[in-house]
Amino acid sequence: MLLLGQQTQRTCQTLDRRAFVQVGASSVLGLSLANLLRAKESGLNPGSAKAVILVWLWGGPSQLDTFDPKPNAPLEFRGPFATIPTRIPGVRFCELFPKLAGVSDKMTVLRTLTTQSNDHGIAGTIGLTGSPAGGTGLDGKPLPGSPRPAVGSVVAKAFANRSREANIASPFLVVGGKLHQGKKPIVGEGGGPLGPAYDPFRLEYDPATGTKVPALQLPPELTPERLADRQKLVESLSITERKLESSLAVATLDDYRSRAVSMLTSKKMQGMFDLSKESPKSANAYGRTRFGQSCLLARRLVESGVPFVQVNWSDHVEAEEDAGDGGWDHHYRNFQIMQDRHAMWLDQTLSALITDLAERGLLESTLVLAVGEFGRDPKVNDKAGREHWPGCYSALAAGGGVAGGRVLGTSDAKAGKPADTPMTPGDLAATVHHAVGLTSEQIAGMGLASTGRVIEEMFAK
């Protein structure tokens, strides 16, 4: 095979989509560059995780009222909740998380994450992409640089071929609506410089109506039968269609078209999204909440071969302003909301997810990561709430080669700052890529710079 002019472009800050297209050209056509790369990299770090479930706790949960309680801090910091022991010696959780404490032997607790902004918009972009570039805060001013792709989009790009072979919808699915701050969508939930092809495919779950796949809604006149008729028509034409040149454009067009059609017409394909196929026992174990069933859906998707699923706890933050559920953005009544809803739901669902994956033998190959965009102010405010806090927050990781029963990082006496081992969302993004076996060379091959340090201490040795 003659490789002419397929030079990879090197850029510094500015990412260049066209350069990606050129790199992608060979992989889509399955031509020699991709094969060569594969051959060159075979034997390199296959990565134990085949799938990732990112549980996105939008709004920013309090580190003190979840996994980094400070029982010895003054009352106005520690809050009203007591602490309970976990299966990790010497590590205690907030008392609202007994079930997660019970599976803590399967997880690594990260307690010293820090981010650069206390604005949901910017911290959201950092959390989703590992970089502040392009993030837009309340003032509407985008930070310099073009936005990086979401962590999931990078995985999607790397696994595009694998997903094609597995005949699944899209390598990157998001369960839940688009993330917003006020009415502004958060930058960085999509492919960014990798192009809209790596934007996530979105599903929504509503307890009242079940799974909704916005893209699969057919207009009223277009019955599935009529669509099938039309498709047959196009296929019969394409046999006689003048021989079209093989090229990247043709190959990708064909590929996405046939996938879209099979999603619209194939019952098997749609079965992936159908929670009625789950036993009531499973459904109950996860909890019959939107979040619970969304996580159940995530497990179903991973089981059918989707490499990256993100579950959004909610679409909106700032409940008082948005009339949304406000996610974890508890400026008001933090302790009441935690106790009545959020802690209970998260405890039940996340522990059920980890247990379920383990029982099905999927935990070894599935990285589950639960984290928000920042933490909350250690000092309780006068509305029994906690304000935004980028200085220190926690995350839970399990499966996909992550060590069980481990805690990383120690925060200071009030969980306001890391006392050691500060970690960033950029590190976390790099770590997720590492977990699925992506090397820094492969990331560089997409024209992307590394977002941070791989947290190698998370992985069992």
Binding site: L2, L3, L4, G5, Q6, Q7, T8, Q9, R10, T11, C12, Q13, T14, D16, R17, R18, V21, A25, S32, L36, L37, G140, P142, S146, K183, P185, G195, P196, A197, F201, A215, L216, P219, E221, L222, R226, D229, R230, L233, V234, L237, S238, T240, E241, K243, L244, S247, L248, A249, V250, L253, D254, D255, Y256, R257, R259, A260, V261, L264, S450
Partner: protein, 738 residues
């Protein structure tokens, strides 16, 4: 311990150097070079902003004095040990005797080890030898046919004092493509497979690209299809012969008509135009068609859209009236075919009201000195200087000082908003209302390296405005001058890029030492032609469209299917968002609505997308606007053609299959199908109309029989024809430009 006099490196140096014998390897000329050669100072390793493992070196060795301190004084001076050179940490790490995250960088028996050791053993001193003036690499262009599978590279350094030295073994040599060639320790370039690539030879901050091609042996291909009076064809044919790539055949009339219409005007030819063109027997009908395309209003609208993308003509910063006057100004300029260098001059020198003097909108859309410098360089000069903001450009000649001195043209450009009635109170970057751009007497930027005030300086030829000169006028004159070293090439390459889907330099706005044109002679010719034509758009577009190269088929042959950059066949591309929506609108004869614009306006003619659907009190986006976003219409936040995405995706497939826009057009009662049925058109008439409008050709017999059979099998004739029309707009032939 071996004597340093026996050091093989030293012997090589003695043999190849015309200078006096050296007592030891030089830090600046040897050690710094081998640190680059071994990759120690690259961005991913110790050249990183934060260094790695406690050792930070300057990126790619741009600052030897810094590196000297890091190696000799850092880490409590443990890194080098002149009394026991082999025990030096830097050597122990590099050869893997001590764990090293970066792995083994070189063995003990290597040029790198010997150079470092020699320098350490001699006391590890800093030196200031004569500066490198020039790096001469031979060859700089090599095409080899099988069975030849390697050649030797040679690099000679010329120093400021007139001395020369063979630095072949010290230079870093890198490939830019994986899998085509590899570099042997002997500095030979060895073929891995047939193909073309660029090899970079780098020594002390100088880099020289070497174009390399290994081609299968065989007779020179037949390039007679490119025989014409056009210099473009001559130069393309010459290169294809050299690289043994056979060109494709000439495109047939239908393919040419559709392609040229899309590329020149962004629209499909009307059914009548197709009928006339296909039936016209005259030999010069392609030229007549090109002339008619260039005269159409859609030509100026289409190219104004491209310029609006680049100049960030968007409503949030410029408001609705602003984008409209700016767009009208650009469109009129292009319709009148006034010189593009004058266009640049008007924009760069503009001051005054954004409503009264439209080009002032440039400084409103791009608002800080650095962003303006980057935009001017990228848009008008085809140079990306962004990397040099923080450090010397690693792949080009720009230093950080160059960057900040170029940015120093702009800090005095100020704006005043006469009244701001923004719709989103929280969004401080939204402006609604007339604005005045002016230059103040105050405002300077500083050089981050020294903290001194940055004196403005042009890129490359280092000209500064005299004390009292207006900086913007001086800059504008410099950019617009026929002697500007960048402008003609950058613009000619961009025009070529828009017509072929790929620049001769690619990305089209990234001219740099390490990114040479795929056909340098052709690049020079196009620039000269553009300049000779008075920097006008239309003559160059015509010259290109008239070339046989442009008119080649997109069907590849066995010998050229892998060619992506030498124009041996046309490149197949998806229609752009606006092209696609306008094409559908034409096929269905059904208008699309855009917020704030009258019904019937084409997507390609809308000055800028409304802000609807982006939050605040801005209302919802229309169906057409949503469609354009899904298909990658840029938001105009970057001054780069690369912001437009053409990669296909699942959501785009859904838009075409069951999307709201397609469905609405299909169902509209008085669309083309409705009108044809109403006037009692027969099935063959219906099919001809749809095919001519959508695919610029007549249906063939096979298609006719299949489709007529389908229509007859259905109860509702209307529904059957809806299905057929759906099938046509979902055909690859419709969705692609070929």
């Amino acid at each position: 311990m071996p004597s340093r006099l026996l050091s093989p490196l030293f012997i090589v140096l003695l043999a190849s150097s015309s200078r006096a014998a050296e007592p030891s390897a030089s830090f600046t000329n040897d050690v710094s070079a081998v640190l680059s050669r071994a990759g120690c100072n690259m961005g991913a390793c110790h050249g990183n902003l934060n260094g790695k493992g406690g050792l930070k070196l300057s990126l790619r060795g741009e600052d030897p004095a810094y590196d000297y301190l890091a190696l000799t004084r850092g880490a409590l001076a443990r890194r080098i040990d002149p009394s026991s050179p082999d025990a030096s940490l830097v050597l122990q790490k590099a050869v893997g005797r001590v764990p090293h995250e970066g792995g083994v960088r070189f063995p003990v028996e290597s040029v790198e080890y010997r150079a470092l050791r020699s320098w350490i053993a001699n006391g590890g001193a800093f030196d200031s030898p004569p500066k490198l003036a020039k790096l001469v690499v031979t060859p700089t262009r090599q095409v080899l046919a099988t069975p030849n599978d390697s050649f030797q590279l040679k690099a000679v350094a010329h120093f400021a004092d007139g001395s020369t030295r063979d630095v072949t073994s010290l230079a870093a040599i890198e490939t830019t493509t994986i899998g085509v060639v590899k570099i042997l320790p002997s500095r030979e370039v060895q073929k891995e497979q047939d193909g073309e690539t660029t090899v970079l030879v780098r020594y002390l901050g100088h880099q020289v690209p070497v174009r390399v091609a290994f081609v299968p042996d065989g007779p020179a291909p037949d390039v007679s299809v490119l025989k014409s009076k056009s210099k473009i064809d001559e130069l393309v044919a010459k290169q294809l012969q050299e690289l043994r790539i056979p060109p494709s055949a000439l495109a047939d009339d239908a393919m040419f008509l559709r392609r040229a219409s899309l590329d020149a005007t962004g629209t499909l030819p009307a059914a009548d135009v197709v009928r006339k063109f296909l039936a016209d027997p005259s030999p010069d009908k392609r030229e007549k068609l090109i002339d008619s395309l260039l005269a159409r209003p859609e030509f100026a609208e289409y190219w104004a859209m491209k310029w609006s993308d680049l100049l960030r003509n968007e409503e949030k910063s410029l408001d609705r009236k602003g984008v409209q006057v700016y767009h009208r100004w650009i469109k009129t300029w292009l319709a009148e075919d006034r010189p593009l260098n004058e266009f640049a001059r008007e924009i760069l020198a503009a001051r005054g009201s954004t409503y009264e003097n439209p080009p002032t909108n440039f400084y409103r859309a791009v608002r800080d000195p650095q962003a303006r410098a980057e935009a001017v360089a990228q848009v008008f000069l085809g140079v990306r200087v962004n990397c040099a903001k923080c450090h010397n450009h690693p792949f080009d000649r720009w230093t950080q000082d160059d960057y900040h001195r170029f940015a120093a043209f702009f800090p005095q450009v100020q704006y005043r908003v006469l009244s701001n009635t923004r719709k989103d109170d929280l969004d401080k970057h939204e402006f609604v209302g007339e604005q005045i751009v002016f230059t103040s007497r105050k405002g300077e930027t500083t050089l981050p390296r020294t903290g001194e005030t940055a004196v403005p300086k042009t890129l490359g030829d280092d000209r500064s405005p005299a004390g009292d000169d207006d900086r913007l006028i001086m800059l504008a004159e410099w950019v617009a001058s026929p002697d500007n070293p960048f402008f003609a090439k950058a613009q000619a390459n961009r025009i070529w890029f828009h017509l072929f889907g790929r620049g001769l330099v690619e990305p089209n706005d990234d001219f740099k030492v390490t990114n040479p044109a795929s056909n340098p002679e052709l690049m020079d010719h196009l620039a000269a032609e553009f300049k000779a034509g008075g920097f006008r758009l239309k003559p160059l577009v015509k010259t290109i469209l008239m070339s046989r190269t442009y008119q080649l088929s997109s069907s590849s042959n066995a010998g050229n299917a892998g060619d992506a950059s030498h124009f041996s066949h046309a490149i197949i591309q998806p229609l752009e968002a606006e092209q696609l929506l306008d094409a559908m609108s034409r096929v269905f004869d059904s208008n699309v609505q855009f917020n704030g614009y009258p019904s019937g306006i084409r997507a390609g003619a809308v000055p800028a997308m409304s802000q609807a659907g982006t939050g605040g009190r801005r209302g919802g986006a229309s169906m057409g606007e949503r469609f354009l976003r899904v298909f990658g219409k840029p938001e105009r936040l970057l001054t780069c053609d690369c912001e437009r995405s053409e990669e296909a995706g699942l959501l785009q497939a859904f838009q075409m299959i069951n999307g709201e826009q397609v469905n609405a057009m299909l169902r509209k009662s008085d669309n083309r199908i409705g009108k044809l049925l109403d006037r009692g058109a027969t099935d063959p008439e219906m099919l001809d109309e749809l095919y001519l409008a959508a695919l610029s050709r007549y249906p063939n017999e096979n298609e006719k029989s299949k489709l007529f059979e389908y229509v007859k099998s259905k109860e509702s004739r209307r529904a059957a024809w809806e299905d057929v029309a759906w099938g046509i707009v979902n055909a690859k032939e419709f969705l692609l430009r070929r």
